[in-house]
Symmetry: C2
Subunit: 275 residues, 2 copies
């Protein structure tokens, strides 16, 4: 967790923001993913909202230059004075928002408000509250709220225990403000030919999550080593029955072995938004 | 959740990515936050990885142009053929990664791998597993794992019930891979002059969370309307005792009324990373 002194082969990559720095960090990581041979060392410097704070960062950069490759700075700072100060650093600086703001000013025919803190890394206040509500919903239904929850949900995730329902529903809530309910598949469901009873009427919101049985076995073993629940045989049985059920019901299915929660969430969102 | 037909005053803002689109959406929202008079309507188009998929998006944009202001496109696509296709759209296009890649190629003296899917919106695979582990940890300790958890945590959040500990710890896990434990403050703790016993030895990782008592009263009322737990008096009492305890212990304190979980997480991270 702590910053170690960078190795001389590591490239210092500073994330400088007047807010949390998530936007700048995402952009930096997206760019650097195209250079797998590089060893970036990320240094987060959030809440840099004044010329004084920027000057401290410039001082840090000057110290880094002495001991390794030229630092790279990614910044979303838009206050002209703070940005000017950062531009004095002996580094390759990416002003991520500057040229975009100028282009939008021209397109919209109005001046951008370049004040500190304007930049909301995520969404606005209304959608922030929606995200916190969706998180409460996901946590409450994860404990089991009864079947009433399925009427209130935007999305219902079906899957066997530890197939990835909870991380996906928490991510849908925290990042996107989408209310996701989980429906854990059990023995009873596998026997049915039809949609699980509590979900009837909500088919359109249902998504199946599946997972490689060997990975499931690994995950369950961390929880309950040696149990029947964690055995490879049981995992193979449950996954194959779950996948058969998904096919029978015609559900869209996502595999959490090969996709991240971000990817699964984005896929689900693009589907519910296009219908 | 669904795309409605945009009002004629709304500006269509398309988020086009060969992956989840989170990076492009964050950048778009950060830029548009500087133009509060505009009414953007976000249309997410993730997983656009082929020329054919891009052509469909171009077709959509052409249809939008007929009925309102010129669409704005934010894209993180880097595959030259896919990007070229997008550039034919009748829209203002922001190629968010293109110029950055060229500058980094020059700085590093190597070619960027501009292949589809290179672009990881979040982190790499190792840190993805760390994030999922941290999420498991946060969920497990939220249920109460006993005092052993505090030794394993990167961060310990202290606060009264519903002060924001759980959303903050889940965000620290999902976004940053940081293991956060919660310590709910109760009557017993308020009486003490010293650090709560289970936390002794872990002071350096401890952060206090506080909240406006009126907001706490509102949140608790949604849970248990009319209870003593939810009463304004009880909320005022608990918050004032908690804040007194934080002062006595010299803990860094964050207010969840005025700051988002992103902001609180970024503040905590910059503190633990700089020590």
């Amino acid at each position: 967790m702590r910053d170690k002194a960078p190795l001389s082969s590591e490239r210092p990559v500073l994330i400088v923001s007047d807010h949390t720095g998530l936007t700048a960090e995402n952009a930096a990581r997206a760019l650097l993913a195209h250079f797998p041979a590089q060893s970036p060392r990320y240094l987060q410097r959030p809440f840099i909202g004044t010329v004084g704070a920027a000057r401290e960062v410039v001082g840090e950069i000057a110290a880094l230059v002495a001991s390794g490759p030229r630092p790279v700075v990614f910044t979303t700072v838009t206050d002209p004075a703070v940005l000017s100060e950062l531009q004095t650093a002996p580094a390759l600086l990416f002003d991520l928002l500057g040229s975009g703001l100028a282009a939008l000013e021209q397109e919209f025919g109005e001046q951008a408000a370049r004040s500190v803190g304007r930049h909301h890394d995520m969404h606005d206040q209304t959608s922030y509250l929606a995200r916190m509500d969706a998180l409460d919903f996901a946590l409450a239904t994860d404990d089991g709220l009864g079947s009433r929850q399925y009427g209130l949900a935007d999305v219902i995730l079906l899957g066997v225990s530890r197939a990835g329902k909870t991380p996906t529903s928490l991510f849908l809530a925290l990042q996107h403000g989408v209310r996701a309910s989980n429906y854990p598949l059990a023995e009873d469901d596998f026997e049915q030919e039809a949609f699980p009873l509590p979900l009837v009427g909500h088919q359109a919101k249902a998504y199946g999550l599946t997972i490689d049985p060997r990975r499931l076995h690994m995950i369950r073993t961390q929880r309950k080593a040696g149990s029947r629940y964690a055995s490879l045989e049981q995992c193979e049985y449950e996954v194959s029955r779950a996948e058969r059920l998904f096919r029978r019901l015609g559900l869209p299915v996502r595999d959490t072995t090969s996709a991240s929660v971000e990817e699964i969430a984005a896929g689900i969102l693009s589907q519910i938004r296009r219908v």
